[in-house]
Amino acid sequence: MTEPLLDIRNLSVSFATESGPVTAVQDVSLSVAQGEIVSVVGESGSGKSLSLLSVLGLHDPRNTTVGGTVTFRGQSLLDLPPKQMRHLRGRDIAFISQDPMTALTPVYSIGDQIAEQIRAHERITAWAAQARAVQLLADVGIFAPADTAKRYPHQLSGGMRQRAVIAMAVSCNPALLIADEPTTALDTTVQAQVLDLLRKLRTDYGSAIVLITHDMGVVAEMADKVVVMYAGRVVESGPAAEVFTNPLHPYTWGLLGSIPPLTGTRPRRLPSIPGAPPMVGRVPAGCAFAPRCPARLGVCSTEPPRIGTPGHTALCHLTDSQRATARPTTLESA
């Protein structure tokens, strides 16, 4: 096996708060190979954005400590000098922020903002950078790209802005694109278009994509690999096909239950996981999911082991036979 493009090992992120340090992300490991789409899923607050932002050094260094190792093309990122990190950002690793409505600086035109990124990494005239910006806008499917480049963020619809943000992210042909819920703020038709666009980027530019989402439907459509996060930890990870056919963790069962079926009669209500995830800093001892788990056992108050095969693991106490009996019943009750 070749070396992965991005390799995150035992990443942890903690904040200094008034009541002492709290750990928001703990022991997160994931790797992304060249050209692969890896999906990071989990409910709101599970630490998805935080993990990947800290990989790029985009967290607030004044109150955040990041531990573990992150390797990109064999280079360790966490102790990279700021200057080198800056050259990497936008050029080798691009980040698409969670909310397209606020991700662009309101006082500059779209074209200027894209050109600014290009010129941060390449020696190129302002005019050529603008021309490239227009071309990029055309590539992401914006009609009248030259016109759009002259417009300001507030003059564009949400879908257009998201496309502009994507155009900006891919402007330097990054090897890795981190897209933080690129479709959450959009309606379903635009959502599908944006996902198509991301897939096209992979085929056209060969970029690997880390796709953060909480929508298992998006995962099913896009991902080669899935990483399920809960309360700041990876509770299950593996190839998408395996996770979908043979989910190991009860939390993943719950997430899968929340996809509307494509065929057959629609259920009256989509099952959802009862309860809410724990707050950062108030994660219970042992398995963090235990309080909400339909297959909870006595041992769940102790630290769960990592089980499964090398490619597909989960953080759970259930044995294979326990899982086989527990899963059908939870599906019925749902």
Binding site: L58, A94, F95, A103, T105, H121
Partner: protein, 322 residues
């Protein structure tokens, strides 16, 4: 753009008209007082009062009185002060304007540069000791009364240390016209500029720092960083640029008010015969025509400064363009 400017100018004219009517009513149509007697000043001869009554048309209807007054203010410009034995008012104001403009403009340049410098430095190094000391200095600057600071500066530069190399270049108090002696003009004004600017540097630095730090929590700052821009570029082109609006708003208000006479204390302390000082003296003598003229002049500057700020808004923020 031209339409916007024209629109603004017309609006400005209306506001000015409104202010002039208001000022007129306050001074001349207050029930139970005789405006002629007030214009004539204390202990005036009855003939003078009668003369004034006729001149200003106080025996005629209010609109005529208003028109006559405006004519004397703006067209014939022969409004005279009776307290000062027939001195013409308008030339007095016009003479005072360059001094005030010189004082306020110079101070404004200092405080804008100083405010931006200190504010950005503090924001860039927020929560470090540099930030904390800068903000304490700013607070000290804000809380020093300008007349006190002015007197201290005078004490140091005019007497205590005047003979040392430090302040031997400082000329005596007073204003030197720019057209007569540019070097002397600057020398005479350096200390007044600094004195007037200190307060505003403090205020502007603190406000700018707060706005920039607020901007730092916006998503687009994260985008700018994720693009691989340098920290300096993120600060200046993104965080500072988007926090300019409150800064410019305040500047318009402060500049307009100061040129309009609010630099009074500085002018008095440094013996600069500006508009503030003129107004102050007129108030002491109850010299109504001068008060009238300076109030009209001041309102013009406040209104004009605000109109310019409104136009700047559109230049600064595309969302303000309609």
């Amino acid at each position: 753009m031209i339409a916007t400017i024209l629109n603004r100018l017309i609006q400005m004219a209306f506001v000015m008209f409104g202010i002039s009517v208001l000022v007129f009513l306050i001074f001349f149509a207050t029930p139970g007082s005789d405006p002629a007697a007030r214009i004539a000043g204390r202990n005036a001869a009855p003939e003078t009062v009668a003369q004034i009554r006729h001149d200003f048309g106080f025996d005629r209807p209010l609109p005529v009185q208003y028109a006559l007054l405006m004519k004397r203010l703006f067209i014939t410009r022969d409004l005279t002060s009776f307290v000062n034995r027939g001195q013409q008012v308008i030339p007095q104001v016009i003479d005072a304007v360059p001094a005030t403009l010189s004082l306020v403009t110079g101070a404004a340049i200092l405080w804008v540069l100083g405010g931006i410098g200190v504010g950005l430095a503090a924001a860039a190094m927020r929560d470090t000791w540099v930030d904390r000391s800068l903000m304490i200095l700013a607070l000290i600057g804000i809380s020093m009364p300008v007349f006190w600071l002015g007197e201290v500066m005078n004490l140091l530069s005019q007497s205590r240390f005047h003979d040392t190399w430090l302040f031997s270049w400082v000329p005596g108090l007073g204003y030197v016209p720019l057209t007569e002696d540019p070097a002397g003009w600057a020398k005479a004004l350096v200390i007044p500029w600094l004195t007037l600017a200190v307060l505003y540097i403090g205020i502007y630095a603190r406000i700018l720092r707060a706005n920039v730090i607020e901007a730092y929590s916006e998503d687009f700052i994260r985008t700018a960083r994720a693009k691989g821009l340098s920290e300096r570029r993120v600060l200046i082109r993104h965080a500072f640029r988007t926090s300019l609006l409150p800064f410019v708003t305040m500047f318009g208000l402060d500049f307009g008010a100061l040129v309009g006479g609010a630099a009074l204390l500085t002018e008095v302390v440094f013996g600069i015969n500006g508009v503030g000082r003129l107004t102050f003296q007129a108030l002491q003598n109850l010299d109504l025509p001068v008060i009238l003229a300076t109030v009209m002049y001041a309102s013009f500057f406040v209104v004009a400064a605000n109109a310019i700020v409104d136009l700047l808004y559109a230049a600064i923020d595309p969302r303000m363009r309609t």
